[in-house]
Symmetry: C2
Subunit: 325 residues, 2 copies
Amino acid sequence: MVEQTFQGAVQDELSQVDRHIGEFFAVSGGLVGQVSRHVLATNGKRLRPTLLLLVARRQGRVSETAVLAASVVELIHIATLIHDDSIDRSMLRRGLPTINSIYSDQVSIIMGDFVYSKAFALLVDHGLFAEMRILAQAAHVMSHGEMLQLERKNRLHSTEAEYLEIIDEKTASLFAAACEIGAMARGVDEDGVAAWRRFGREYGRAFQITDDLFDFIGEEAVMGKARGSDIRSGRVTLPLIAALGNASARERARIEEIVMGGGMVDGLWEELVAFIDAKGGVDYCLEQAAHHAREAASIAGDLEVDADSRFALAAVVEQVVRRRR
Amino acid sequence: MVEQTFQGAVQDELSQVDRHIGEFFAVSGGLVGQVSRHVLATNGKRLRPTLLLLVARRQGRVSETAVLAASVVELIHIATLIHDDSIDRSMLRRGLPTINSIYSDQVSIIMGDFVYSKAFALLVDHGLFAEMRILAQAAHVMSHGEMLQLERKNRLHSTEAEYLEIIDEKTASLFAAACEIGAMARGVDEDGVAAWRRFGREYGRAFQITDDLFDFIGEEAVMGKARGSDIRSGRVTLPLIAALGNASARERARIEEIVMGGGMVDGLWEELVAFIDAKGGVDYCLEQAAHHAREAASIAGDLEVDADSRFALAAVVEQVVRRRR
């Protein structure tokens, strides 16, 4: 597995994170128990905890507090995904059916709230108040970003700045929070914490731009879900925004017809993807993702960190723009 | 207005709560702003903050901390209602269309998360960590209760104990939390805090039993929503459970047919309500609500509290079983 190159350095701590999460989801019988087992089966890549733990390491050691905070960050991420899948009416997540598709949107709403409130309760129970401040704020910003995204649904004249605002809020904010918490756990000074926060934001931007690009050109088997979910949900993302910027009025009108028509059948999807590629949308996204990854790498390069964390962080940043190809 | 009899004692503090909530919802433009204005227009009775403030008063004064905590309790209640209305597919709330009916379930999910995360962020910002512990736990228990309720949908053989478990979790827990926080703000000892918590739970039970009864026999104009929402959502509540306990096998079969058939047209709704009344379901609920109200009154009677708070608390408890008649 490719991921082992960067997760190896914190493998033991990630196992503890998995154990924490497993314990939390093992609590209940009944419907909560059933849904919990499904959530556990849809195991993620644990990217946010990995970053947090890599930043937090000092002389090869990670505090228990950092491991717990990493688990809570992942729980918040899981709660967000459960609500997002219901909002987007997604059918698949990492190759498995989503909770909303197996059960209902009702179960998704409640389960998201259940996980979310537990994440905050865990932080309070362990007295992690600084982490709490950061994560409550991040959760608030994420929901604001989701609302912006919904508000700008099907808005084909969206600008790149508007797109960046959305991904900063809905995605980069939690990566930034994870890295900030990692830096605090490492015990670096205020400037260092702020720099690691910027690192997380840049990483999160590279991550989301790549994600949005692969929604057009990724391999479905690797992604564990179907391409085209953004267009189906009316999300106008950077590949399309960039391509439309290079299109004639006539081409714009044609693309508008395709996108607003909704149905991506009969060769229309291929036409859309070919348009985005021909008009430089793919190249622009690769460039922009690489740009933000370089920014992240450059920030990390200036900061103190364990040697093997440095190696692993470089790998994780490198990989964000290379995954799924 | 009847409510003034018990809200009068903390009228100034409730205005501050309204101001806090107004400020929070006034923050944003765009879709968040629109939805926020709608939430503010659907102004509630502020029962939870009222109880918190009445308990918190000492020699006529309420601390700023208590006022802030009361505002946050109401925000958590508002977030819960937004998600609940979407889960129940409710169309009306306090005489106004619900967010899910005006916008969509998607907007409801995000808006609930937005309010909820802000509530927790406010607590952290003001260093209210003890309150945070209580409220994160209450929120977690509430979502568990919602899941139980969903799991037991349409289960006509539900027992009274199962019903009590659900209402304790989904409703009484937040009333208990509000009263516990009020007692902490008043500075009473541990036993006193635990007793006020029990007071809140008993009050919450009386409140929910009455609410569930009035879903069958209340006046729609007073409730601000249509009767029958529980049956439509498959919620088997105490009036029905109690009536079924006194029914013959044949009567049970007939009621099962009506309830599971879903459609409450052509006199079936009237038949159901007449059955519940004839089989003692109405009387039993009135008795049980009165029993829990008496328990609450008896607990409060033993505790130290300001003289006009005592009067107001007696009024609020008295009223929970008398409202909407």
